[in-house]
Amino acid sequence: MSAATAVEIAGIKMKNPVMTASGTVGFGEEYARYLDLSSLGALVIKTITLKPRAGNPPPRIAETPAGVLNAVGLQNPGVEALVREVLPRLACYDVPVVVSIAGETVDEYARLAARLDGVPGIAALEVNISCPNVKAGGIAFGTQPDMAAEVVQDVKRNTGLPVIAKLSPNVTDIRAIARAAAGAGADALSLINTLTGMAIDVDRRRPLLGNISGGLSGPAIRPVAVRAVWQVYQAVNLPLVGMGGIMTARDALEFILAGARAVAVGTANLVNPGAAGEVIAGLARYLEEQGIADINELVGAAHRGGGGSRC
């Protein structure tokens, strides 16, 4: 069973295609009692910055139809605490750890990459160029091809680790950003980060979130995410990690069929701390039921018109 689900992304060998989405399981440990971390394809931990960040004022989360708005504001203890305290503790789990990084300048990304280079226990870096809550000069890196390319290139220059660029859906043409990141040397692409959204508290007549706007995630955005994977799969020749509203194995299959080699479970963890484990089990069961020897056969299959017939 496990052989059938094994995939490789940017040189990371994973038992199965199921990762956690950055920011939704913290540094993993809170989830260890609900989820066998070692059973994951990879553990992507919450985005880290050079200096500790206090994050945004509450409320930081609002519920929307089939979705969640969050404005955590990248609260994190900073890269030194990560290296000193978090990574050593994660070493006891048999799972590739992907460290997500973000900065307010290109230089900060580069310095983070350099700082983490050679640190044991890191399988890859995920470059979060898309977080809508970080106002780096007003617009996010991930919305401009040239800025996205610059960040990825400088990160690549400063690390020997595989680099996954995480794209934002808040753009006119996500393919252009994907091509830029690919051209700059990204080894894989994660898509998508959250959509920018907001909610108004009608009683208070004020924005609900302390930060006014936030990032929309959860099942509500799945159609946007599947479309992004579909488009980028046709535009670049890199392995893709698909995410956005995956709650079940069937949701994960939508992404895989659209072209994702791996998937990440995000908001679902907030609802059901065992969600990722259920997706892993469900994928294995699907392969068995359908008699598929290798999950890689399904990657992008919906483009080929393969399998099943229209009836």
């Binding site: 206090a54 509450p58 907030l270």
Partner: protein
């Protein structure tokens, strides 16, 4: 240790306008729950509403393995929860959070509950009352008399005082007003409180004035409930030097003197 469990509904009753008492069969939770902890509840199984809802543990019957919640129907989640019937299952995650911690040396304890804030205090009274040498006052505030009568402290060795905004029962005014009136006479050495932000803030001021220690149970919108998503932040420390802590994991109960109101 906390768990994700499908719990059978043992009973589910309307106890006042908009208020429900929900009894769940869950020996696992009953065995380990502490007063002030909460359960994170899925109100239905679909993606709308998506998130769980936190409810304080109102009562526990360890022998029969039962856990009781007391909740008010305020929005969609609680409205859906209210449609669940006896013998159906409800998915819960818990017990979660750090509960009340009344110091052993405190002998004159006042518990202040505003509105549904009374829910966790009942469980706390049960625990405190085991030590019969301790004097316990419960001050319960509500808008009107009809919102008070559903928590029955009758069998417990406590001094119950009530306040209603409309004066329909007990003290006329806020529960903090009642506290102010009683404090000189009661001379408490500890206050545990739960209720709306406005009430806790006012109570905190009064406690500071009187130099009284105590603890507050806070509420904030939650994601995971288990300390990972850092969505449920509150400010803890002093007005000059605070940091964000997580209501779900570092709280929901915090030292009264360390809560920094926004």
């Amino acid at each position: 240790m906390s768990l994700v469990l499908d719990c059978r509904i043992v009973s589910h009753h309307k106890v006042a306008l908009d208020c429900r008492r929900l009894v769940l069969a869950t020996p696992e939770v009953a065995a380990v729950a502490r007063p002030g902890q909460f359960l994170h509840v899925r109100c239905n199984g679909t993606a709308d509403p998506l998130l769980r809802r936190p409810f304080s543990i109102h009562d526990v019957d360890r022998e029969r393995g039962l856990v009781t919640l007391l909740y008010r129907v305020v929005g969609r989640g609680t409205a859906l929860l209210a449609t669940r019937r006896k013998r159906q299952k409800v998915n819960v995650l818990g017990p979660l959070g750090r509960g009340f911690q009344v110091p052993l040396e405190c002998r004159r304890v006042v518990l202040v509950g505003g509105g549904m804030g009374i829910a966790p205090l009942f469980f706390l009274v049960r625990e405190l009352a085991v030590d019969l040498t301790r004097a316990i006052w419960v001050l319960h505030g509500a808008r009107t008399a009809g919102e008070l009568n559903f928590v029955n402290f009758g069998a417990l060795p406590v001094h119950l005082r009530v306040a209603t905004d409309d004066g329909s029962l007990g003290f006329r005014g806020s529960v903090v007003g009642l506290f102010k009136e009683l404090a000189p006479e009661v001379q408490p050495d500890w206050v545990s409180a739960a209720g709306p932000t406005g009430m806790l803030r006012a109570l905190g001021q009064e406690m500071r004035r009187l130099g009284l220690p105590g603890e507050f149970s806070l509420e904030e919108r939650m994601g995971c409930g288990i300390g990972a998503c850092v969505c449920c932040s509150c400010r803890i420390g002093s007005p000059e030097n605070w940091n964000y802590q997580r209501v779900c994991a570092d709280g929901p109960v915090f030292p009264a003197g360390e809560v920094v109101w926004e």
